[in-house]
C-alpha cells in the first residue's frame, strides 16, 4: 500500500462544508464519500446536497433524523432507493430541517447515483488503510475532545469503543517525527482545525483505532458506467454520437 494518500491532491474532495448548529454530520459524511467516489469513477467533482438527505431521508424505515442525527450507511441506502442525489446548487444547505422534502424532478436535474454500499472490515486499521487508498471512506469517531482542536496529530483522549460523529477519511500519512495519521475531513467549517481537517492518530494500539475510527467504516460503490443523467460526461458522449451520426449521414 502507498505510504501516503491524499484524495484532495487528486481533486476528489470538495471544499470543507459547515453543518452549523445542525447535527447533520451523517449527511455530510455520506455526501463527502459519494462526491469522492463519483470523481474517481466519472472524473467529475460535483458538490452534492446534504439538505436533500436532511429533509427527505427520514421517517419510515430510515434511521436518520435530520438535524437530530443519523448515520452515513442509512443515507447511502436512501440514495440508492431514491435513484440518486441532487447537487448542492439545486438543493442548497439551510442549516435546519424544518422544511418539507422538496420533490426535485430527477429527469431534468443533474444528480449522482451509487449502486450499493458496504462496510470495510471492522476494527482493522490496515483494511481501513487499504480502503482509503481506493476511495474516501465514511467513519464514525468519538469527537468530544476535538472541540478545541487546532493542529497536529490528535491522540485523544477519547472513547475507543463508541463513535458519535460522522466524518470522511480522505487520506493518511506520517509526520516527519514518525507519527502516523489519518486525514479526516470534518464538517465544522474551514476555520476549525487544519483548514477544516483533523489529523487523527493512526496505527493505534487498539484494533478499534483511536477514537473508534476503525470500528465500522462504510463506503458507497459505483460502477464506471453509472453516470448521472445530464452530467457533462453524458453530454459529451451524446454530442459525440450525434456528430458521428451526422458524419455518416453526410
Amino acid at each position: 500500500l502507498p505510504d501516503e494518500v491524499d484524495w484532495r491532491e487528486k481533486g476528489a474532495v470538495v471544499p470543507v462544508k459547515d453543518q452549523g448548529d445542525c447535527g447533520g454530520c451523517w449527511a455530510f459524511a455520506a455526501v463527502g464519500a459519494v462526491e469522492g467516489l463519483n470523481k474517481i469513477k466519472t472524473g467529475e467533482l460535483v458538490s452534492l446536497s446534504e439538505q436533500e438527505l436532511l429533509d427527505c431521508d427520514r421517517g419510515g424505515n430510515s434511521g436518520n433524523f435530520g438535524c437530530l442525527g443519523g448515520n452515513a450507511a442509512d443515507a447511502f441506502e436512501f440514495i440508492i432507493e431514491n435513484s440518486g442525489i441532487v447537487t448542492d446548487k439545486v438543493y442548497p444547505y439551510t442549516e435546519n430541517d424544518t422544511a418539507a422534502c422538496k420533490a426535485i424532478e430527477m429527469v431534468t436535474t443533474r444528480y449522482v447515483t451509487i449502486d450499493s454500499y458496504e462496510d470495510a472490515p471492522h476494527n482493522d486499521e490496515m483494511s481501513l488503510k487499504k480502503a482509503v487508498a481506493h476511495q474516501p471512506i465514511s467513519v464514525m469517531v468519538e469527537a468530544e475532545n476535538m472541540k478545541l482542536y487546532k493542529s497536529g496529530v490528535f491522540t485523544g483522549p477519547c472513547d475507543h469503543w463508541y463513535g458519535n460523529h460522522n466524518v470522511v477519511v480522505v487520506g493518511y500519512g506520517t509526520t516527519e517525527r514518525g507519527e502516523d495519521y489519518w486525514i479526516i475531513r470534518n464538517s465544522w467549517g474551514a476555520n476549525w482545525g487544519e483548514s477544516g481537517y483533523i489529523k487523527l492518530q493512526r496505527n493505534f494500539h487498539n484494533s478499534t483505532g483511536n477514537c473508534g475510527v476503525a470500528i465500522r467504516p462504510v463506503y458507497p460503490l459505483k460502477s464506471n458506467s453509472a453516470f448521472g443523467l445530464l452530467s457533462p460526461s453524458m453530454f459529451k458522449l451524446g454530442a459525440l454520437i450525434i456528430f458521428q451520426l451526422i458524419g455518416w449521414a453526410l
Binding site: 453543518q19 448548529d21 451523517w26 448515520n71 472490515p121 482542536y149
Partner: protein, 99 residues
C-alpha cells in the same frame, strides 16, 4: 490550572473572538455566562499547550463558548445504530503484501 492572563486581557480576547466568529447573544446575562465558559476553555487550551512534546495543539475554535455538554448535544449527532445489519465487504480486506 488558572490562566496567567489578566482578566482584562482575557476580556479583550473574548471580544475579538466574538467578532471573528460573528457571535451575538440576545438573552439577558448570556454574554457573561458565555464569557465564563470561554475562560474555562481558554484555561484548558493553555494547560494543554504548555506541555512540551504534545503532538497536537488546541485553540479558540468557534466552539470556545460551549460547555462539553452543549457541544455534544448540538454537534455530535452521529448514530452508531443502523436500520439494517451491515454487509462487510472483503474487497478492502488487508492481506500481507497488498500493493
Amino acid at each position: 490550572k488558572e490562566t496567567k492572563r489578566s482578566e482584562a486581557e482575557v476580556q479583550r480576547m473574548y471580544e475579538r473572538w466574538l467578532v471573528e466568529n460573528r457571535k451575538n447573544y440576545n438573552a439577558l446575562g448570556e454574554k457573561e455566562r458565555r464569557f465564563n465558559i470561554f475562560k474555562d476553555n481558554l484555561k484548558l487550551i493553555e494547560a494543554h499547550n504548555s506541555v512540551p512534546e504534545r503532538t497536537y495543539e488546541l485553540g479558540l475554535t468557534r466552539f470556545a463558548d460551549l460547555t462539553d455538554d452543549e457541544f455534544r448535544a448540538i454537534h455530535l449527532r452521529g448514530k452508531m445504530v443502523r436500520t439494517s445489519d451491515p454487509v462487510i465487504g472483503d474487497r478492502y480486506l488487508y492481506k500481507e503484501g497488498d500493493v
